[in-house]
Amino acid sequence: MEIIAIILLILLVGSMLTFLIDSFSSKLTGITAFLFSLAASVVFFTQIPSGYQFKFQLAGLDLQWGLTDYSYYFAYIIFGMSVLALLYSIKYMEGKGRLGYFYGSFLLTILGMFGVVISQDFVSLFIFWEIMTWASFLLVIYNAYYKVKTKGVKYMIFSAIGAYAMLTAIVFIRVHYDTLLISEAIAKGAFNFEQYIYIPIFLLLGFSIKAAVMPFHVWAPSAYSKSPMSFTTIFSGAMSKMGVFGIGLVFTSIYLGTNPENFYWVRTILGWLGGITAVMGTIYALIQTDAKKLLAYSSVAQLGYIVVGLSTGTKLGIMAALYLTVIHAVFKGALFMVAGAVEKQAGTTDMTKISGLIRRMPWTFLVALVSIIALAGMPPVGGFVGKWLLYEALITESNNYILVVVVFFSSTAAFLYSYRFLYGLFLGQEEKDTKDVKEAPITMLIPMLILMIIAIVSGAVPGLIFEPAAKAMEAIGFQDVTWQMSSLTNLWGDTTNLGLISMLIGAVFVIVFVFITLKGYKNTKDVGTKDISTSGEIPKEWENLSFQQDFFQPFQRAAAPLYSMNMNKIWKNLGENLEAFFGFFRKLYTGNGQTYALYVVIFLVVLLLFKDVIFS
């Protein structure tokens, strides 16, 4: 039996087994799921080299599974994140119901994602894509009591629109290019925007929806924040990256095309969509009072950066996107784990209700701090390197200066919500009801700490990620991607020593930090969270005086027009109008037998009258 099939089988059997084990012992389910995912990744990393291929026939179609360096790169993310997330889940999910259901779907989702990256033909790609989608749907609605109708189904509808757009593209690729193999289709120019323009556009549509690009992002915030946090870790960390994976594939034709200038408009449009996604995601993240929701919007924004990077179509830009892909998975995974830990230990993630957890959960705070630094793109952590690459690509190689401003604006604004997340949950005075909160259990801390260490190391030695990323880029058609352990050479041969830069800035940062802390330490005094100066006004009783309330009110006022432009509302109206419209057609079935009989006769008469038009 083929080794790749064995991995899929391990995951499948694991999924069924966990589902069944739940009836006997719900404690064992988490461990079982973790062990199975670990086994699958061990088998994968030890047994399957890059370049592996496996061909077979199913349903009269030639299917092919295999791994290139490009898919290997994403497999790292999938297995890495999954194993950590499952380890984290063991304690996080403890005491919740329907664990078999949860872990079974979890492993199926991993199977789907793994299948997507190993698919080398479109049919398997679509099949695994759909498995991934419905398995994750089952997890999204896991928590969504009462709200299935709006929340979970919204995710599914958008996913289905995307998947069916892909399917349309796939069937036409088969017709026009007579192949279902991805590599062959690329070689024949299937993703070329010149011949059959709807094929790449439909594919891009499908992948962008999974990557939650504007204006299709509306499913993401609620889906991310409503799922159990241990799943959101891979939902946002790994699954949304499948969209990135696909966009990267489609764009190969742009890099490889004979005259890439012709596709400039595609890149511009996608770049702007990415930019707008980044801005909108960020400004919505600002006004959230729930930490989970904040992170969810932030994920949307981060995916925007990645799309911007991809859209540049230059080596540096793609490298930035790939780098951000990993680093986003790492720090956002860690942050969602932090949010989950807080939720588990303190019972809520509403930032208006809790604060000062630093005393109770110091390790969790440490992880949150490092991850937030990475998220904000500050040195010396990995996020900085990605941001640097992105700006460099935008400024020096794509000349799209307005987009630079947009991205820069959004990443500056990201500081605001990063600060809020950190401050809201961990800093400030303690609330009385969080006095007896305990540090997260060790199995939850370990994955968080591992992710934190990855974030730090990748900032210091970015080459660790450059190496596989460069290989991945070569696999999709770039040549001579030059990189060193801590530096990257751009188009003109300028070498940027990113590790050094990030270390230097980090050092300055630490010095300033120490200085300010020492300076300010003496002047601090303890006040309650709700004891704030009200500038002479007497607060009314119902006014919530927590700092977190209206935290960014001035900003919010300034950006009011942006907030009123709510995509969510637009989609909702569309849905409601459609249903009302459908209701009209439903009335055709009047319930009166005679009317039905009349329909029959009228239909007959119409056919007879127009018989020469219809039948010739």
Binding site: R586, Y589, T590, G593, Q594, L598
Partner: protein, 130 residues
């Protein structure tokens, strides 16, 4: 018998028109009853009339003027040349039986409906809709 034959030959076209006309008239009347009448029993009657019209049309088409009964008998071996087409008659017999069954079932349903709704107006029987 011969007189009848002669008489038939004389009004042949008229009779043909009359038979076909009756058949089509029956179908139209039946359709009218089914589509316009509100009483359930009248609708069932309309269905029956429509069926009757179609059956008449069948028989009329199979008829050959001056044809004999479609029976081969000793001394009448070459009857095939002038006999009425037997197939439509067989079909009509079957169709009549089926029509009978459908009508019986329909009437029993009408009784059931009347018991439940205390009305036989089809416009009031629309609790299942949309």
């Amino acid at each position: 018998m011969m007189e009848f034959q002669a008489l038939f030959e004389q009004y042949r076209d008229l009779i043909t028109i009359a038979v076909y006309g009756t058949a089509i008239a029956l179908i139209v009347i039946g359709l009218y009853a089914v589509l316009m009448k509100k009483h359930l029993v009248k609708i069932v009657i309309g269905l029956s009339i429509m069926d009757a019209g179609i059956h008449l049309l069948f028989v009329a088409i199979g008829y050959i003027s001056g044809g004999t009964a479609p029976i081969f008998s000793p001394g009448n071996e070459n009857a095939g040349a002038r006999m009425v087409d037997p197939v439509p008659q067989a079909l009509v017999l079957t169709a009549i039986v089926i029509g009978f069954a459908v009508t019986a079932l329909a009437l029993s349903l009408v009784i059931r409906l009347y018991k439940h709704h205390h009305t036989a107006n089809i416009d009031q029987l629309n609790s299942l809709k949309w």
